[in-house]
């Protein structure tokens, strides 16, 4: 793929606006709260789109079109059952505690609700994970630009890091959030025409369905048995593993997304953030997954389009870029490519802004230097931004040289994340839960995840202790690891909590459901109230699933 001058010009315009927005926002940053939490003053439409966009990175775009070509429309489970119910839950039930407790981060909520050790465990693993994800994002960007455009890896990594650093350093979280929204709009407007053209060329949905196996155009019909569908997953593993444990663990407890809602200007806006985000979320599959399915259909037609190949098998990760090259002329190609680069960069910025908040408030302020003036923490937040970007660059190079280390790290973070939701849901809804219970539960859940991986095998992965069970796919294995981790965490937390001394009710007001006055919203229009909004979203979700059954 070669770029024309107009494509470079579009890219340059984008960079100019990104930096310009950061420059404009710098004047508003006078306290650490402004820099790390946006001063809790961002309008709800912006927090909603940022909530959505923080997760729609470029790996997601490329990965989802790849999965579309590999698994078909059942990939949309990652957007539907694997996201929407959890987004509704966090908005309606959990946001009152995150926002209302005045905690500045998710780990800080754990400190207020439980104790210092639980917070530190969560904060330290989260901080390591964000740096790692940001580095992986950078690595993927460098790789893509090298492969598609022939740019040098080092130039791509350093240039993108410099731009991300400039705008997050200037405007802090607000700057990152604004750019996430810009990137989201760019992705939608840049890739919707591609989706429309590819589906049109393949003969519409019916034409596509006629040219590929029926399993590719149904999301539920082949989920009864793992052997019936290409994902190798059965309906219980999907619903419990992905739909419940993994999705609630991510959308309800990951500070990267929750931070966006916590930046909202009021409690009501914070609660509506994930609910409003859920509406565009359920339609994203039509932009990111459907082109992959269309590519498969096009490859079965005499259009001259062939699936990209690597080492004798299809290279699904290249599906999106080959489609762009086949459908877009200079001009729209620039828009699409700018969208891709923008989402890589906002993926980095999102991680860096979550990292600096958790580091500054949950590690530095609580362990290294408490009780300093706010100015000091603003400076630490700024320096941490630089440190976070530097560590990400390091991770990107590490990923380039040692792919195995990256796989291992990803696995370990998976173990740490899997049980988290059990801790939060018990903490918020059962006042008897104690700090010792939460901490031992988390550790047991992580151990259970590692043990499950060590004792089962899937596609040659895992089984480093013994092979007690064989899963049909790595995806099924991941879902079941999550289920075991969650269950272990839940049981151990309950057991240890019953054996240890609970905190008095008075200390838990605002942190636990039964001891908190839930915000009421009578007298406001229905679309400004969380419950009716959530019901609307749920109905839309059911309709969509029935349409693509």
């Amino acid at each position: 793929m070669t770029l024309a001058p107009v494509d470079y010009a579009i890219l340059a315009v984008y960079f100019a606006f990104v930096l310009g927005i950061g420059w404009q926002l710098r004047k508003k940053v006078t306290t650490s709260g402004d820099f790390l939490l946006s001063g809790r003053s961002v309008p709800v439409w912006i927090t909603s789109l940022a909530f959505l966009a923080a997760n729609l990175g470029a790996q997601e775009l490329i990965g989802m079109s790849a999965s579309g070509a590999k698994y078909g429309i059942m990939t949309s489970h990652f957007y539907w059952i694997g996201a929407i119910p959890a987004m509704l839950f966090v908005g309606v039930f959990m946001m009152p505690f995150y926002y209302g407790s005045r905690a500045r981060s998710v780990p800080e909520y754990l400190k207020l609700r439980f104790d210092e050790k639980t917070r530190t465990f969560n904060a330290a693993t989260f901080a390591a994970m964000t740096v790692f994800s940001s580095g992986i994002s950078m690595y993927a960007l460098g790789l893509l630009l090298q492969l598609v455009l022939g740019w040098s890896f080092t130039t791509s990594v350093l240039a993108s890091a410099a731009i991300v650093l400039a705008y997050t350093f200037l405007g802090g979280l607000t700057s990152a959030i604004y750019n996430e929204v810009l990137q989201f709009l760019l992705i939608v407007l840049g890739f919707a025409p591609l989706a429309i053209m590819a589906v049109w060329k393949a003969g519409g949905w019916d034409g596509m369905a006629a040219r590929i196996p029926p399993v590719m155009t149904h999301s539920w019909a082949y989920m009864g048995r793992a052997s019936d569908n290409p994902m190798g997953v059965e309906v219980f593993g999907l619903a419990m593993g992905l739909g419940f444990v993994l999705s609630f663990g991510y959308w309800c407890t990951d500070f990267l997304v929750v931070q966006r809602a916590m930046a909202a200007e009021s409690m009501s806006a914070a609660r509506r953030t994930p609910l409003i985000a859920a509406i565009p979320k359920m339609f994203i599959p039509f932009i990111v997954i459907v082109p992959g399915i269309a590519a498969l259909a096009l490859a079965n037609m005499s259009t001259g389009y062939v699936l990209p190949m690597k080492n004798g098998g299809p290279d699904y990760d290249q599906v999106l870029t080959t489609l762009m090259a086949q459908f877009y002329p200079a001009g729209m190609l620039g828009v699409g490519l700018t969208g891709l680069m923008a989402s890589f960069m906002s993926g980095m910025a999102g991680n860096v802004t979550a990292f600096n908040t958790v580091f500054t408030y949950d590690l530095y302020q609580s362990h290294i230097r408490p009780n300093a003036p706010d100015k000091h923490y603003l400076m630490v937040g700024r320096l941490t931004t630089i440190g976070g970007v530097a560590l990400s660059i390091g991770t990107a190079y590490l990923a380039q040289h040692y792919n195995n280390i990256m796989d291992l790290l990803q696995l370990v973070f998976g173990f740490v994340n899997a049980p988290l939701f059990a801790t939060f849901v018990l903490g918020m809804f059962w006042k008897r839960t104690t700090g010792h219970g939460a901490f031992t539960g988390l550790v047991s859940g992580t151990t259970a995840a590692a043990l499950t991986h060590g004792l089962t095998v899937a596609e040659g992965k895992g089984g480093w202790l013994a092979s007690l069970h064989q899963f049909p796919s790595v995806m099924a294995q991941n879902f079941w690891i999550a289920i075991f981790a969650f269950t272990a965490c839940l049981l151990v937390t309950v057991l240890v909590s019953l054996l240890t001394k609970p905190r008095p009710d008075a200390e838990l007001s605002g942190l636990v459901y039964s001891l908190t006055k839930m915000p009421t919203d009578e007298g406001v229009a229905w679309y400004l109230r969380p419950a009716p909004l959530a019901i609307l979203v749920a109905v839309m979700l059911v309709v969509l699933n029935l349409m693509f059954w």
Binding site: V13, Y14, G304, P329, G331
Partner: protein
């Protein structure tokens, strides 16, 4: 605080103009599988979207002086 609709409105209007110009002055440049002049249609849409954001920002400014 800076109203995001203003800069993003200008951004989409500018790239919309650039893409539309490609569609008008170089209508024959198409992707190999493309049946339509995508630059023209998508460019006009980007332009219209930018104008829409700017109109929203302008309305908000008028309402709260």
């Amino acid at each position: 605080m800076l109203d995001l609709r203003t800069p993003s409105g200008y951004f989409f209007a500018i790239i919309g103009l650039m893409v539309t110009a490609m569609g008008v002055f170089s209508p024959e440049s198409r992707g190999r599988l493309a049946d339509v002049n995508v630059n023209l249609y998508a460019g006009l849409f980007l332009l219209a979207f930018g104008a829409f954001l700017l109109a929203l920002a302008r309305r908000a400014r008028r309402r709260q002086p």
